[in-house]
């Protein structure tokens, strides 16, 4: 009988979702909040409940479907947009802000206190043709190397600070019979953490803009990055091309591999499998110059309101509520995320390895957030990991990028 119960729950949910755009009968203002993350639904729901308790005239419907970005684009085509968005500071944000459908927050006091690094990332995403900040950054993520502390100790190694240290650690692990890096290449996107770590540090400033203008190419600027990736591939394992995100998290949690390339978002997942695991994170030391090695970090969640929303004041009230210290802290703690506010540092013990990077502002943005959407760079990176032909790969990136420009 269990399945009947779950079936009826699902259909009720579908019914509720279908009704979400209507004004409730009791005079409450209903706002639809569209989120593109599945990991934080539980946290949002708790915070929304608290908000609704404080504001009894507003009710918020959270809508966080799978494959949210594609769905959001189809809703854009149908001109059926929600009131509020909670999306990442990536290509989808760039597109929506360029479409001119989001509220401009520049000059809004809500932006005070947010680290400049994140505000400039957001404004760079707006593209060369417009200015403004069409979203309020809330949480940041980081692209890290996750490591098994116990294994690192057993191998008598320190957390590597330079590229040479890192290679030395890999050599040591390999000769001790450990898997040095637990790569996961079955999903295209899981090849991106390692690509982002390396190319994020090595690519020239404003690469995407210059590439679009035709001033630079991948072939000219990414040779060192592909060389380093090829080096790292020697320290993988036999089954790396057949393992995806979930299987990789599980295997790493069960003690396979010394290093694991994933963002901070994978840490709670790994800890679900093995709550006692002793793990840490650090920023990939891509070069031998300490100052050049930066943590790749981006805006994971920003809140924005649609210009067409009928209830802009209520939406603003919700965003202000989320930015308050209590809510913000609860979110960061539950999601192992980082606040974008100046001077608010995570005290999560698992994240202590990248605390200094945040404190010093030694941060650079995710390169792939600036690639044209629909180009499928992750698939090309995945293919490169398999074929290992750097010239083909870089030329293909250049060609696809140029071709996409012809389509608009």
């Amino acid at each position: 009988m269990k399945w009947i119960a779950s079936l009826s729950i699902v259909s009720t949910l579908l019914f509720v979702a279908g009704c979400s755009n209507h004004q409730a009968d009791d005079g409450k203002v209903e706002l639809e909040l569209f989120s593109n993350k599945a990991e934080n639904i539980g946290t949002y729901q708790k915070l929304i409940e608290r908000f609704e308790a404080e504001h009894d005239d507003i009710s918020i419907n959270l809508y966080a479907p799978p494959d949210a970005e594609t769905l959001l684009r189809t809703r854009l085509v149908k001109d059926d947009m929600p009131d509020m968005l909670a999306i990442g500071g990536s290509a989808i944000y760039a597109e929506l802000s360029q479409a001119g459908i989001l509220v401009d927050y520049s000059g809004d006091p809500m932006l005070n206190g947010i680290q400049d690094a994140y505000l400039s990332m957001i404004s760079e995403l707006e593209g060369p043709e417009q200015t403004g900040i069409h979203g309020v950054p809330f949480a940041a993520n980081a692209n890290t190397v996750i490591y098994n502390k116990q294994k690192l100790d057993e191998l008598n190694l320190e957390v590597p600070k330079t590229w040479d240290d890192f290679i030395y650690a890999l050599e040591t692990a390999q000769s001790a019979g450990e898997i040095p890096i637990y790569f996961t290449f079955q999903d295209a996107w899981t090849t991106m953490p390692v690509w982002n770590s390396i190319s994020g540090v090595l690519q020239p400033e404003q690469f995407a803009t210059k590439k679009t203008e035709g001033a630079l190419t991948f072939a000219q600027t990414h040779q060192e990055a592909t060389g380093k990736l090829l080096t790292l591939l020697d320290y993988g394992h036999d089954r790396m091309y057949g393992i995806g995100y979930d299987d990789g998290n599980r295997a790493f949690a069960q003690g396979e591999g010394l290093f694991y390339f994933q963002g901070n978002w994978a840490v709670p997942e790994i800890l679900t499998t093995n709550p006692d695991m002793d793990l840490g994170v650090f920023a990939m030391p891509t070069t031998n110059e300490l100052e050049e090695n930066k943590l790749v970090s981006g805006v994971d969640v920003l809140f924005s309101t649609l210009k067409d929303s009928e209830h802009p004041d209520e939406a603003a009230a919700f965003i202000e509520f989320m930015l308050e210290e209590e809510q913000s802290e609860q979110y960061m703690a539950e999601q192992a995320a980082f606040s974008v506010l100046d001077g608010v540092l995570s005290d999560d013990p698992y994240m202590s390895g990248i605390r200094d990077d945040f404190a010093e502002g030694s941060i650079t943005s995710f390169p792939d957030h600036f690639y044209p959407p629909g180009m499928g760079v992750e698939n090309m990176v995945q293919e490169f990991m398999y074929r290992k032909n750097a010239d083909d790969f870089l030329n293909r990136l250049d060609r696809e990028w140029d071709q996409i420009q012809l389509r608009f």
């Binding site: 597109e95 479409a99 057949g242 698939n379 389509r407």
Partner: protein
Amino acid sequence: MKSRQRTFLLMTIPALVLFFFFHTFPLLQGVFYSFTNWRGYGEWDFVGFSNYLNVFQDMRAWSAYGFTFQFAIVSTILVNIFALLIALGLNAKIKFQKTLRAVYFLPNILSILIVGYIFQFIFTLFLPQIADFLGINALATNILGSPDYAWIGVVIMAVWQATAFNVILYLAGLQTVSEDVYEAAAIDGARPWRRFWSITFPMIAPFFTINMVLALKNFLMVFDHIIALTGGGPGYATESISVLIFRGGFEGSQFGYQSANAVIYFIVIVAISIFQLRVLQKREVQQ
């Protein structure tokens, strides 16, 4: 008679209107947008045939065409071989005939997505474990992780799922063959192999035609299989044209451009279907 004709006309018109509004009209809209640079929202301009010209220079589109045809041809042949064999078996006088027919029809009831996720589990975890256990190193890795062999995984799953439907059509065909012809053939001393090639196969030729056309058309439009198994990867190795159109159109906001791709593909499928019908119908026996 006049009023009867009018009744029939009234019965067909609603379907025609619905078909026009929900099928023909969107199709025409797609053709219209294929001449624009529309992103799916916002402003757009006419760009003439430039989308069409760009499709021909798009390496990703070429590789999608390559994969789709390779996949569709291999799967169509395999599905028809297996379906015919199973149908012959199920048509013979065997025990549990009805139960077996039901069992062989089961895959067709299951959703392709669910079958896809189950096969993904098999390829990722189950097969490598068995191969490890038996010491066959060549099979110990996930074939879905290799750009060279991932398409075989998709073929295996697609054939497993699609055979059931064609079995039904072949069974229907086999039942139209009258027992008398077989008896006559037996009296003339024809052996089973001869009986199959000279009687059974020619008699069910119309069913062979329809099965080939339907299977090829369905496989050329392959979408769910890819989404569930590989997502188009590794690289672009298993990206079919439908997946490319969906990806580029909605994830990449290239609505106008991918409409052009879709129009080209529509023409290709229509052309192939007509060609197939012509060629295969020629060799059908006139009954």
